[in-house]
Symmetry: C2
Subunit: 251 residues, 2 copies
Amino acid sequence: MISVILTGTGNVARHMFNAFQKSGQVEVKQVFNHRKKTLDYFSKKTKTTTSIKEVETADFYIVAVSDDITLQTCELLKNKPGIIAHTSGNQALPEFKNSGVFYPLQTFSKEKNVDFSEIPICVEANSNEAEQKLVQLGNVLSENVQVLNGEQRKKLHLAAVFACNFSNHVMALSEKICRENDIEFSLLRKLILETAEKAVVHSPRKMQTGPAIRRDKATLRSHEESLENKPELLEVYKLLSQSIKDYGNEL
Amino acid sequence: MISVILTGTGNVARHMFNAFQKSGQVEVKQVFNHRKKTLDYFSKKTKTTTSIKEVETADFYIVAVSDDITLQTCELLKNKPGIIAHTSGNQALPEFKNSGVFYPLQTFSKEKNVDFSEIPICVEANSNEAEQKLVQLGNVLSENVQVLNGEQRKKLHLAAVFACNFSNHVMALSEKICRENDIEFSLLRKLILETAEKAVVHSPRKMQTGPAIRRDKATLRSHEESLENKPELLEVYKLLSQSIKDYGNEL
């Protein structure tokens, strides 16, 4: 049985905890967190502590805390015997022996259960041995474990911002346009799902449609005119249309 | 049996032709198009003509041609006895009696068959009678027929540009970041599909995640720094992050 001590109590920690328990191959021996209150979620299921002094010995210490305290939390644990790995997409590999990164590429929300088997886990480590062990741990949860260096992981995190946070935002702006014009946003349901499906099956670069890629000046002008009293939407419309045209020219 | 004469030979015309034929309730009596060559697709299945003089009598004349010639093509047909309706999201309702709009909200590609039953059809007409008849025709194809006025239809078309063309483009930029850093874009597959599913089930406004909505300045700065030599990506990153923050403030 692989032993893990989890640090942190947020969504990543919770989902990972449940996935480890479910696997039957990993025991989460203990959950460590400075604030007692948020440990309640775990306290019926395993040991918990708020004190670094009480943290036990384990094969892995997984640090799933917010980005701004990730590295200092790893530092706290660095004299422990196992591998200390954080789950952040954007923080550097800690600079000590046996450190690593164990980054699940997914957004987690409290409400929704996730199937870890489909979530890519990106691994980086300070030694080949630690890398191998983190890959093994990743394989317990996921069918897709990737070794990425720090630069690649950061870029993947950035790519995820474009593909997910930004695509969600333009959908939110679309919803806003609908709401302000008494149109049901649900009319776009099918089109949105189809856009995402096409993008992951084919290349989104090849799947681009719409007035900008067609160089349909009349429609572009008519859309811009209809946004004249919505400067915040107009700015996004103009920049993304220009970006689509420019990217089309690169091909 | 409802009779339809189709004008145009592009993707919309083809998919609509097939859907009408399949319904068993509509007969496409004839396909009219100025260029003979593109009529080949239809000529084995129904009558075709390149001459306005040969266009027969029917209940509906559906004009599915490119936006720049939509209104003049409707004008050509205006003395015909039935209802003359175009399929454009962005063109005005033609200004003559018995005109209408019959706009299917979907992107059509040659390769892929579409299930019309899930595609919203937006109807507008110059008379109540024509409106009713177009709604009936829409119900033959789709489970979701909506009567929208011209302004709403234009805004829906604009909303579709944001939700689909723009979301596809930010995914294309994401793919570019991956490609330039030797990262498999397929790592983002699950995350992209989940983003789209969440957006249509819940509201995308409520589903926004990422550094901008969290006001995570350190990550925003680190992403911007990593795009310093990619001004075209940096500009999109900054504007959309700002737009996410501003929209968050509106709530």
